[in-house]
Subunit: 358 residues, 2 copies
């Protein structure tokens, strides 16, 4: 399997276009599905998991995954050396938001199918047998849902789902039962972070049954001032209700971030410009940069671009860097092992200089 | 009095040329002299101080001060507004190292004579009636002494010095009696500061009777990793002995700094480059910069230039900035009051961007 050929252009969701793209980086819809006649993935034997994986490999050949199809078997093979390569691929896919932490770090037979524009993917043997995922740039939950549904319908023609007439789609975890839908938006909230207003965001989200997570979803920390906001419960709600709830709350967060941005620019324009211009200058000049610092500086540059303080930096190009600065991508690009932090920080700085040079 | 016309080009000592200019920014010789027939300046009445100032104004017209002569009366006038202007001029002259903190902040009739290349100056009614000062770029104590002596000889023809056949030139403070000579070198020691080796410099200096001071001499802090090293005692030593002692110790400091620079570049090249390139990038991009940060960043850039890591930055142009970033210079250049720190930091950033743009 060769992942290198599709790695440089970022996924469609990194384009920086779509509605409310000043705050909303991307919208994501995920459907949890399980196959009838198999125990849930967590209880299935390796043979059963392999069988599911095999069924999905066959099914994926006819699925509407996008311009070019990939099916990646993430099952650890026998030899240690191959396993190192595979580990890198798994991390790479995770860095691209194509697979979850669970699929990256988990055990046993598992895999992922996706299209080369990275708009839709199907994880196999994650917590559920299948997790259909659709991501779009900007605020586009309806479009993402439509993408996921199209895939869902196609899959339903190829495999047999586990469905209860009472509860709807059966899932390994009760919070997903029903529609099996989880919707989320990735928000860029540099102004709220700067103004130390994030606690109010957390409170507002928690009051309305929304979860706030980091850049890589559940259990990950915020990086580059990115926060993923998602619905918590799916049982007893229709897909439309779930999306409507998130969509109804979203303007509050967007307006909050925008107001604070406006306030910062109006009241502390020089300071904001200072932060933005320094960040870009450092990214263009540094010889060694850690992941966290890179994300922080890129966030400041993104703030500069979306507030109009900074011109001449392409948003799509910038967004790709939020993915490309991570270790597996750096290593892939370097074409050799980058074993020490010093090597990675140096490679990261080189990449940033090249990609952001004026 | 118009000081603006000679303010932009830096003094000769900022050129960055001369021997050992990689470490030695400048060499300075100062002679303390008092006039016969007057009490020491600290005990003289305002009338007596005015009389001395008047004598010096007349004498300065024939002194070898350089291509163009300036005589600046620093005596506070009656009106408050004029006094504000004068205060600015005094700070300006102090920022250029043309007058001491004592002459800047002191009271009563006082002044200074100097040439437009700022190589020699005579302060009037500082601690002593006259303080002849000569500064040269790089390690050039002999040349500075020659400049100071030429001025001393010319002055001796114009006024009558207080001299004791036993002690030599009489001075207000006993540490200056004899030759009245103080010699100093301004060293740039970024590597020793970075490697936290300055305590050893302080100890070595103290053991050999040398004083280590900050960028603006006695009682000032180090800025931009600049340290002034000078002799402490003049009584009982000839001018040559004083200079020889400082010159004998100097190579120890120079070699020490150079060794640590070499070590840093050899062992942590990427980190040093990172520091240097970031510093220049920030200076070229920032929208607000404090004096301390400016001095620190300029110091890193200077390290880059003298170690050859950085090309395309002119050392003389860089050195001027070590003076131009200070408040009175910023205000002079702005042509208006810069009353708040925010205004000054913004003006400083603008100046740095303009002067260092690629």
């Amino acid at each position: 399997m060769e992942l290198t050929d599709f790695l440089t252009p970022g996924g469609e969701w990194l384009r920086g276009d779509g509605r409310d793209a000043d705050v909303v980086m991307s919208s994501r819809v995920r459907l949890a599905r399980n196959l009838a006649g198999f125990p849930f993935a967590t209880r299935a034997s390796d043979e059963q998991r392999s069988e599911i994986l095999g069924k999905m490999r066959t099914a994926s050949e006819t699925l509407p995954l996008g311009p070019r199809r990939y099916f990646v078997d993430l099952t650890p093979p026998g030899s240690r050396r191959e396993s190192k390569e595979l580990e890198l691929d798994r991390t790479l896919l995770h860095e691209r938001h194509l697979i979850s932490t669970e699929l990256e770090k988990g055990k046993g037979p598992r895999g992922v199918a996706f299209g080369s524009d990275e708009r839709v993917s199907v994880m196999v043997n994650e917590e559920d047998h299948l997790r259909i995922q659709a991501i779009r740039s900007g605020f586009a939950l309806d479009e993402a849902l439509a993408d996921a549904r199209a895939l869902d319908v196609a899959l339903e023609g190829a495999v047999r789902y586990a469905v209860s007439p009472t509860y709807g789609y059966l899932t390994a975890c009760p919070t997903n039962v029903g529609t099996g839908l989880r919707a989320s938006v990735m928000l860029h909230l540099p102004a709220l972070v700067h103004a130390q207003e994030m606690n109010r965001v957390f409170q507002a989200a928690s009051r309305t049954g929304l979860a706030v997570r980091g850049f890589y979803g559940e259990g990950t920390k915020a990086m580059g001032d990115f926060y993923q906001i998602s619905n918590q419960v799916t049982l007893g709600q229709s897909e439309e209700e779930i999306l409507r709830k998130l969509s109804r709350m979203l303007p509050t967060f967007l307006e909050y971030e925008r107001k604070v941005r406006e306030h910062l620019v109006a009241t502390y324009r020089v300071k904001v410009e200072d932060k933005v211009f320094r960040a870009l200058a450092v990214l263009r000049a540094a010889r060694t940069v850690s992941t966290d610092e890179a994300m922080e500086l890129l966030s400041a540059v993104r703030l500069g671009v979306v507030t109009g303080l900074l011109t001449g930096v392409d948003l799509a190009r910038l967004h790709e860097l939020f993915v490309l600065v991570h270790p597996a991508h750096l290593r892939r690009q370097a074409g050799r092992a980058l074993d020490t932090a010093v090597e990675r920080d140096t490679a990261r700085a080189t990449l940033l200089r090249q990609r952001l040079s004026a």
